[in-house]
Amino acid sequence: MANIISDETIEYVGILAKLELSDEEKEQAKKDMGRMLDYIDKLGELDTTGVEPMSHVFPVENVFREDVVTNGDTREELLTNAPGEKDGMFMVPRTFE
């Protein structure tokens, strides 16, 4: 494996993704990420002179909606997915100091 992921990197990525990993999981994740980066490095071997950077995997552009209200009130249904509910709002752990 050409790419070696350090303990600091996996720790940092874990914090960014809000993941708590056990020591075994960290080791596995380091290997997985190293392999992914090796795979991406392969692309660097290609000669891309004169190739336009790709913005999307599908050759599709300009998919739009007209500015017309199409959605009604589906609050009840949506709130069934909420971790908690009060006064028609999603209830989540306190975020203010």
Binding site: S55, H56, N71, R75, D87, M89, F90, M91, V92, F96
Partner: protein, 481 residues
């Protein structure tokens, strides 16, 4: 010798676009709905939902970019900005980092020290977040996603401003430009326009910029001016004391007139931007760009030019009237109904401005129609009502756009043209005020003013002051004889 400092300011301005629906779904953007009644799986970030771009958002963004002399990015796309916070249900905000829709523009601002250009670094499209409410009782946070997904453009200026006057002039310029386009109502107080101020100081003549801070929570022009002055002083004090300015985000407390650290560079976020695969790229063709360009409205400067040519009204009036889109619309539409321009202007500059100030009404919220203003003016012209009565009627019109003709009719406010009634009232006033009468007859011509006033009062304002004056003189001269 005391060192002299220069303030360097750049602005990030968020503007809520006036579309009917959100940027990526068909939910309404209307204000005042019950919590979460303007939501769907897309704007609440449910797994598997797919965003589709509102065409109008792109057109508004391009129109603002053209007005700000920007280069339009003909092939643009959206990126995900990743962060965790409950106001952002997807855990990422859809924004534009790599290919923003507009770049490299400028607007011209005028202050007392002259005219200058403020560079626009870029304008990009993004979605607004939901609203968080802290619940003391349950000790938790409640989330309303009605604003989640409301379209925004963020206008990023170059660090070209040097004082609060220039910042205010720049914001006024953007606000008018965007209001004229109809792309937003740009109300700072209500949050449809939000400005973050990036500020640093450096010694006059220095080449390098100083360390900057970003100031948030500025919701009036006054707060912005005060925050700029406060932050300039704070940074200079630090430098004078030999300390360093820390790059950080600060929150302005306008009530206390001080700012607090919100977050410093150390805990700055790593947003891990990447292209949003759910949205296809946008290609602005030549034809489409030309269509948008052709539909650009007449902006303030052009309007002022035209008013000078077409209407015989003072420059001062033109300046005030074109200072708000709604005002200019009211003026033009009332004049188009055949009313004399100066008379329309007088009503707008006088009573309208007075009542706006008194009731703290924004020009955008003026409710009376041009038809009704035209009718009111013609009632005065025809001497059907007096100026005093007209002002009373206008006050009602200002509050709830009533039809002045039927209102005057209903309330019996018409000027009394009944010669008999007027004559008997004047006779009575003469009889009741012997002192003023003898003063007048004794040569004090001014005493007639009091008698006119008394007559108008007795007639409840419904008499023509000119006729009253004439009649008084006629009857008094008979007494003299």
């Amino acid at each position: 010798m005391a060192r002299e400092y220069e303030t360097v300011i750049g602005l990030e301005v968020h503007v809520e676009l006036a579309t009917r629906t959100k940027i990526f779904c068909g939910c309404s953007t209307a204000f005042g709905g019950e919590p979460n009644t303007h939501t769907c799986p897309v704007c609440t970030g449910m797994p598997g939902s797919l965003p589709v771009l509102n065409k109008k958002v792109l057109e508004y963004a391009v129109a603002v970019g053209l007005a700000a002399n920007c280069k339009i990015t003909r092939y643009c796309k959206f990126d995900r900005k990743n962060y965790f916070y409950p106001d952002n249900p997807q855990n990422y905000q859809i924004s534009q980092l790599y290919l923003p829709i507009c770049r490299d523009g400028y607007v011209e601002i005028t202050t007392e020290s002259g005219t200058k250009k403020v560079g626009i670094h870029e304008i990009h499209m993004e979605e607004d977040a939901g609203k968080l409410i802290h619940d003391e009782w349950e000790d938790c946070t409640l989330v309303d996603y009605n604003r989640s997904g409301v379209p925004l453009i963020e206008i990023v200026s170059e660090p070209d401003m040097r004082n609060a006057d220039e910042v205010i002039a720049y914001l006024e310029k953007l606000r008018l430009m965007i209001q004229y386009l109809g792309a937003s109502d740009c109300k700072l107080q209500e949050g449809s326009m939000r400005a973050d101020v990036n500020l640093s100081v450096r010694e006059v003549g220095a080449k390098e910029f100083g360390t900057r801070t970003e100031m948030k929570n500025l919701n009036s022009f006054r707060a912005i001016a005060r925050a700029i002055e406060g932050e300039r002083e704070r940074q200079i004090d630090l430098l004078e004391a030999g300390e360093a300015v820390v790059q950080e985000t600060r929150r302005w407390d306008d009530g206390k007139g001080v700012s607090y650290t919100m977050r410093s560079k150390e805990d700055a976020q790593d947003y891990r931007y990447f292209p949003d695969p759910d949205l296809t790229p946008v290609h602005v063709s030549d034809e489409w760009l030309e269509q948008i360009r052709a539909a650009q409205p007449e902006f303030r400067e052009e309007k002022m030019e035209r008013y000078r040519r077409e209407f015989d009204i003072p420059d001062y009036d033109i300046e005030i009237i074109t200072g708000a889109k709604r005002m200019a619309d009211l003026f033009e539409e009332t004049v188009a109904l055949g009313t004399e321009p100066k008379k329309v202007s007088n009503w707008l500059m006088g009573e309208t401005m007075r009542l706006m100030k008194e009731t703290e009404t924004d020009a955008a919220d003026l409710c009376f129609s041009p038809e009704h203003l035209a009718k009111l003016i013609s009632l005065v012209d025809a001497k059907a009502i007096t100026n005093t009565v007209a002002k009373e009627v206008f006050e009602v019109m200002f509050a709830k756009d009533i039809d002045p003709e039927s209102y005057v009719e209903e309330k019996g406010l018409k000027t009394v043209n009944d010669e008999g009634e007027l004559r008997s009232t004047v006779e009575r006033v003469i009889a009741e005020n012997p002192q003023s009468v003898s003063d007048y007859l004794g040569g004090k011509e001014k005493a007639i003013g009091f008698l006119v006033g008394q007559t108008m009062k007795a007639m409840k304002g419904k008499a023509d002051p000119g006729s009253v004056n004439a009649l008084l003189k006629e009857l008094l001269s008979k007494l003299q004889a």
